[in-house]
């Protein structure tokens, strides 16, 4: 990959966005009624507020590749005959800017599920057409623990990595897709970027600063060593699940804000004109999750609660070369109504390593 590093002045960042949005949809962390989300950027709309200072959007960048709900197919009755109508949304090329290191890593975890056979066509299509521009975290939060998963908030993955330092946005393409976007931008406006390759001292200083902060965070050094498949049964049978799950109210907040949760349900909706089949996120915390004809395999909240963390910390790694299904973004820490979260679970169940 090219190690070319480009910069654009922060005050001109609007031009960059406009240039990207010229021929494709651009998703930016925008403010909506007080909350920050990845929303389509509209160059013509001055009221949109770009919030690059906010670390985590409430919903992760996962939404753009695996939306909360999407149509799959529809059925329509004509007299006594049933037509099957494919009405999956067409995916156009798009770019998402401002993805943080943790979210960027979450795509790897989702890819392992959705892109292995049988390939999830919708997800694959979005992954193929979406360009991910990441942004390093200048101000990590106390809830961050991406470091535990070997993620470097100072050098996020993604098709293009960017940093904000010294009043400049630093831009480095990592993949072919990234290079393509960069080239396209340059072809439209050659003066958009300044080539700062080899003059990246400010950038390196910023990276150092980030790493320094991360080493001071309260969750620095969190260990998940205890969680591996050999301990599966011991962990599963731990009596501690009961007390941990007592606070859980069984909502889906943690799963819906989680960048790596990937469960969905397929449902039919009778519109009166026909039946629309769609899929939507599901949460293993729900009482009707994987409801089957005979009923529900996990009848109590403790089982459902355990399932979620077993999946993240044991089952998924067991099937994926030890990679945890968590990126340490800290969203569940911030959002759980009962303040129960993966860190508390990790420390309670796999206690010794964290004492």
């Amino acid at each position: 990959m090219s190690a070319q590093i480009l910069t654009v002045k922060m005050e001109n960042i609007g031009n960059l966005f406009k240039a990207i949005a010229a021929d494709q949809k651009l998703y930016l962390p925008l403010e909506q009624a007080g909350q920050v989300q990845f929303l389509p950027y509209d160059p013509a709309d001055d009221s949109q507020k770009v919030r690059l200072d906010v670390l985590n959007t409430v919903r992760s960048a996962k939404d753009l590749f695996f939306p909360q709900s999407e149509n799959m197919v529809a059925f329509k009755k004509q007299g006594k005959k049933i037509d099957i109508i494919e009405n999956r949304e067409k995916v156009e090329a798009f770019t998402v800017f401002g993805v943080r290191a943790c979210d960027a890593r979450s795509f790897d975890i989702l890819d392992r599920v959705f892109l292995s056979e049988p390939v999830d066509v919708s997800y694959a299509e979005r992954r193929a057409r979406g360009t991910v521009v990441t942004l390093a975290c200048n101000e990590p939060e106390e809830t961050c623990f991406c470091e535990t998963f070997g993620i470097d908030a100072a050098k996020p993955d993604g098709d293009i990595t960017t940093w904000i330092a010294d009043g400049l946005l630093w831009w480095q393409a990592n993949t072919n897709k990234g290079v393509k976007l960069t080239d396209k931008l340059l072809s439209v406006d050659a003066g958009l970027f300044v080539d700062s390759t080899g003059e990246a001292k400010a950038l390196e200083e910023q990276q150092e600063k980030i790493r320094e902060i991360i080493s001071q965070l309260p969750l620095h050094g969190l260990s998940l060593e205890y969680f591996h498949k050999e301990e599966l049964k011991t962990i599963f049978n731990s009596p501690k699940w009961q007390e941990l799950s007592e606070a859980c109210i069984g909502c889906g907040t943690c799963t819906f804000v989680c960048p790596t949760c990937q469960c969905y349900d397929i449902r039919d909706y009778d519109t009166g004109n026909g039946v629309q089949r769609y899929r939507c996120w599901d949460s293993c915390m729900y009482s009707d999750f994987v409801m089957m004809a005979h009923g529900n395999p996990r009848t109590s909240q403790v089982e459902r609660f355990r399932q979620r963390f077993m999946h993240k910390l044991v089952y998924y790694p067991a099937n994926n070369e030890g990679i945890f299904s968590c990126v340490g973004c800290g969203r569940c820490l911030a959002k759980c109504p009962s303040s129960m979260n993966i860190v508390k679970v990790a420390k309670t169940i796999g206690g010794e390593a964290n004492v």
Partner: protein
């Protein structure tokens, strides 16, 4: 999946003129579940019905939709036809394409389109119908009459005559009620006692009638056909079975301080007493609050003098539990308290009396032996003033908003009787309106005014001031537009009447509704005037609204007929379109119970097994015999556990969907 047949009726040209029948039939063929669609000139005719029956058999239909006139017209007809062909009669839906479509629209295209929508709506509903079977419940062949006045006695006698057992519960020591206190009755002036006491005797001696006097209803459970009633027999302190009714005890009782309720406190009675000579049962009762034995432990004179040894100071209240098929409410009335009407001086002068008190004074068996005497000094009055509408037609909250109905007539009666017996007495009647609808009523009133010279004054009395042994009555004569001051010896107040206060607690026990004035509400004010909205509960007499004796007796007999009709059935068929609680969803929150107008919902603790665990939960259960199917409970149920058979949430939503498609 249903196999539905759709039958479109032309109704001659009534429907066919505006709705294109063929289009409707054709459209219905493609509706889900429809396997057959046809039309006919007159579906309700014999031929039309047999077409339906034939199609049901031929196409093996599970349900039918008839597109015709209003279901209020022929739903029953088509249900019967379906039943005859072996279908469940609740697998029939009607699309009203006549009243709601053909008759109100002129444009043929528009009307046809609407008819198609209405038809497919009925199909959509029918797709979710399930066969319903009316439940059955048994009927206990015994009736309970609450209240032993003329209303209760009449109802009881009529029911007993038809061969059914009847129990009368009366809270006083004797039956007879208010009528027993009256002197003469309008407009015939026959003596109340003369016509009532034989009926009282009849009731007491009737083999099918069982009297519970000095008793009250403690609680009511159950429902139509199967009421479970607890009756409290208050302790009389006299053994009714051995008392001979000789009355020696009442004469010898040394306590003479108690006000005689029967004479409205115009004289005193002993602590052991029989309310009046013709009381039934003729058994005395000890007023424990007044009895010296009960107060101090000494005395017991009555026990000593009793030849039958019937006095029992240790008697306790006794609870009798019995089952009844029907309940007649005949709780009657009382004159209101006059505390809010100080201007009439009722509390200041003994000579200001209520009309009911005058009845006792005029009564030959009353405190004055039937002589008209002024209560204050037993003197002969020379001028009497009657005031009408005392507390009636009052919207200020001091009195009652309604007209008490009987006052105009009894005041005319009183005035006439006084003028007849004592021509020297001047009688003035202040009135707002004189209301005399009723057979021979107006003639009666005119007779009082014209033949007997009663002075009727249009106007009201503003003040009654006791002054120097007289009563200064300041009133208005609106016709002459002047203020009058009449110096009277006695003032008689035509006091408003109100339902007995037991009505309220009984209403709660029976879930029979009462109105703002505490009168029992009828199931329908015009068409079901003697039934309460609660099945199996009937209304007799003034407890339903003010009425005179003939009306009371008429209503009492009408209620009796309704009871007989009910008791003559061995089984009661229940409306199958009733609420139904899904116990798996029920939270036990009681919302449904709060809004049920019939008290049809009970809660039980029930064990449930889920996920290998057993848990005890409080769940609602609907008594199908009581539920009338209004659906109020379904909407307040937060979890949707409560649903209404025949009008389920899913069915109604399917109808909405079909209309909006």
């Amino acid at each position: 999946m249903q196999r539905i047949g759709v039958f479109v009726c032309w109704c001659g040209t009534n429907i066919a003129a505006t709705v294109d029948i063929d289009t409707v039939v054709e459209a219905m063929k493609y509706e889900p579940g429809v396997v057959h669609a046809s039309d006919y000139q007159y579906m309700c005719s014999e031929a039309g019905q047999s077409k339906i029956k034939q199609a049901i058999k031929e196409h093996n239909l599970t349900g039918i939709v008839v597109c015709a006139c209003s279901p209020r017209m022929h739903e029953t007809t088509f249900r019967k036809a379906a039943k005859a062909a072996g279908l469940n009669q609740y697998m029939v839906e009607i699309a009203n394409i006549r009243e709601h479509c053909a008759w109100i629209h002129k444009d043929r295209k528009e009307a046809t389109e609407k008819a198609v929508v209405l038809a497919r709506t009925a199909v959509a509903k029918l797709n979710l119908n399930t066969p319903l079977t009316p439940g059955e419940s048994s009927v206990v062949k015994r009736a309970l009459v609450i209240g032993g006045g003329i209303a209760g006695i009449q109802s009881a006698l009529d029911i007993a005559e038809a061969g059914y057992e009847v129990d009368i519960v009366e809270k006083q020591p004797t039956i007879g009620g208010k009528m027993a206190q009256l002197d003469k009755t309008f407009p015939t002036l026959d003596c109340a006692a003369c016509i009532l006491t034989p009926k009282m005797v009849d009731a007491a001696s009737h083999e099918n009638i069982n009297l519970y006097t000095y008793s009250e209803v403690d609680s009511v459970g159950g429902f139509v056909g199967n009421f479970n009633v607890k009756i409290r027999k208050k302790a009389r302190s006299v053994k009714a079975d051995i008392c001979s009714g000789c009355g020696i005890c009442t004469e010898k009782c040394p306590s003479r301080k108690a006000e005689n309720e029967f004479n409205l406190g115009l004289n005193k009675r002993g602590a052991i007493y029989i309310p009046f000579a013709q009381a039934i049962p003729n058994v005395p009762v000890i007023d424990r609050d007044q009895c010296i034995k009960f107060k101090t432990g000494k005395c017991g004179l009555c026990a000593k003098v009793c030849p039958a040894d019937a006095i029992d100071f240790s008697q306790q209240d006794e609870i009798v539990e019995k089952q009844y098929g029907a309940v007649v409410l005949a709780t009657g009335f009382n004159p209101i308290k006059l505390d809010n009407f100080d201007e009439f001086g009722y509390s200041q002068s003994k000579d200001v009396i209520t009309s009911l008190e005058l009845e006792r004074i005029m009564n030959a068996a009353g405190p004055t032996g039937g002589k008209l005497l002024r209560p204050s000094d037993n003197g002969h009055p020379h001028t009497m003033v009657f005031v009408q509408c005392v507390g009636s037609r009052d919207t200020t909250g001091c009195g009652k908003t309604y007209c008490s109905k009987i006052c105009c007539m009894y005041t005319a009666k009183h005035a006439m009787l006084i003028r007849e017996k004592y021509p020297d007495v001047d009688v003035h009647v202040f009135y707002i309106d004189v209301r005399t609808p009723g057979k021979n009523f107006d003639e009666f009133y005119r007779r009082a005014a014209e033949d007997y010279g009663v002075n009727y004054i249009k106007g009201m009395v503003g003040k009654v001031a006791p002054t120097n042994g007289k009563l200064l009555v300041q009133g208005s004569d609106l016709i002459a537009d002047r203020q009058l001051v009449i110096e009277a010896d006695m003032v008689v107040l035509a006091t408003a009447i109100e339902p007995d206060q037991t009505a309220k607690s009984l209403a709660t026990m029976l879930t029979a509704s009462i109105d703002t004035n505490n009168f029992f509400t009828e199931a329908h004010p015009k068409l079901r005037p003697v039934e309460s909205p609660t099945a199996g509960v009937f209304l007799s007499g003034v407890c339903q609204g003010p009425k005179d004796i003939p009306e009371t007796v008429a209503q009492a007999s009408a209620a009796a007929v309704k009871v007989i009709g009910l008791l003559s059935k061995d089984k009661l068929m229940c409306n199958p379109c009733v609420a139904n609680s899904n116990e798996l969803l029920c939270n036990g929150c009681s919302n449904c119970q709060h809004v049920c107008p019939y008290g049809a919902i009970d809660y039980v603790e029930k064990e449930f097994r889920a996920g290998g665990k057993t848990s005890l939960r409080r769940v609602a259960q609907v008594n199908e015999a009581i539920c009338q199917g209004c659906g109020a409970c379904t909407v307040v149920c937060p979890s949707g556990a409560m649903d209404l058979k025949g009008f389920t949430n899913q069915q109604i939503m399917a109808e909405v969907d079909a209309i909006c498609r």
